[in-house]
């Protein structure tokens, strides 16, 4: 179980796991060597609501950092998830087929999307945000969203 940074904005509580890196768009990357597990953040899943379907690029698909690696259809929107790393999809979370609500229930755990074999993880890593930096970005995004309520 990772530790979390946590903030409350309006009535919502958002968590950021401290054991991984982030893109400003709300994708996370957790590396094990060059194999990088990816998913979306607690903020992004709460912002978009209940997940109806999640389609992840198939195993063997090459993606560049910023390329769409998954599309998540929620009750509010279709969310295109940009890959936080460059490489090849080597594993897709089988839960996305039958129980994509795992993204809502456990965005940093069972709700992971895919594992990507990174082409140059050190370079991608340098371009991502550490948990504290993403926490600040996310909080600003959440406060902006709260103004719309």
């Amino acid at each position: 179980m990772p530790d979390y940074l946590e903030t409350t904005v309006d009535k919502f509580i958002f968590r950021v796991a401290t054991d991984r890196l982030y893109s400003p768009e709300g994708a996370w990357a957790l590396a094990d060597g060059d194999r990088v597990r990816i998913g979306i953040t607690d903020f992004l899943q709460q912002l978009n609501g209940d997940v109806a379907f999640a389609e992840v690029k198939a195993e063997g698909t090459a993606v560049a950092a910023g390329d769409e690696v998954a599309t998540i259809e929620t009750i509010k929107a279709n969310v295109e998830v940009p890959s936080p790393v460059r490489g090849t999809v080597v594993e897709v979370n089988p839960a996305m087929e039958l129980s994509p609500e795992a993204i809502n229930q456990d965005p940093y755990g069972d709700g992971w999307l895919a594992v990507i074999e990174a082409t140059d993880w050190p370079a991608d890593r340098d371009a991502l945000l550490d948990p504290q930096a993403y926490f600040e970005v996310m909080r600003a995004q959440a406060e902006e969203e709260a103004k719309k309520l």
């Binding site: 609501g49 209940d50 109806a52 379907f53 009750i75 809502n104």
Partner: protein, 142 residues
């Protein structure tokens, strides 16, 4: 057992401004007004929230089928909070997952997909209502 006692109450979520809330209410109207008008009754979630005694009495006295548009499950929770029993809870999202071609859009007016999804939800509720009534009928004759 009188006809009145054999009623099933249908409680849709309020979800104002939400597509899935609209689907839940449209489905409830179809069941109560068209599919099973004699054996079902609508209870407004807002009345349960207000603590309206007639609404609370209805969900306490009859089997309740709730329809929720999101995971907050307000309808199911309010029936329970009101002392009622949710005989069957239906989530619009689950029905949509089984009918992906019926993508709902719109709020005040649903698109065709939303209308068809509401019809699919209504069909599931109608089947549940029939099961409940059959069970009641069976226990009456037992």
């Amino acid at each position: 057992m009188s006809g009145e006692e054999r009623k099933v109450v249908v409680v849709p979520c309020s979800g104002i401004g939400k597509t899935y809330g609209t689907v839940s209410r449209e489905a409830a109207y179809e069941v109560v007004e068209d599919a099973r008008p004699g054996s079902t009754g609508l209870v407004a979630l807002s009345l349960l929230v207000l603590g309206d005694e007639d609404a609370r009495a209805a969900v306490r006295a009859h089997p309740a089928v709730t329809i929720d548009g999101c995971k907050l499950a307000c309808a199911a929770k309010m029936v329970q909070e009101s002392g009622g029993h949710v005989t069957q809870g239906i989530a619009v999202l689950d029905v949509y997952r089984r009918n992906r071609e019926l993508k709902p859009q719109g709020i005040a007016e649903l698109n065709e997909g939303g209308q068809r999804l509401a019809h699919a939800v209504a069909a599931e509720i109608t089947a549940v209502v029939d099961d409940i009534l059959a069970e009641q009928e069976g226990s009456t004759h037992a």
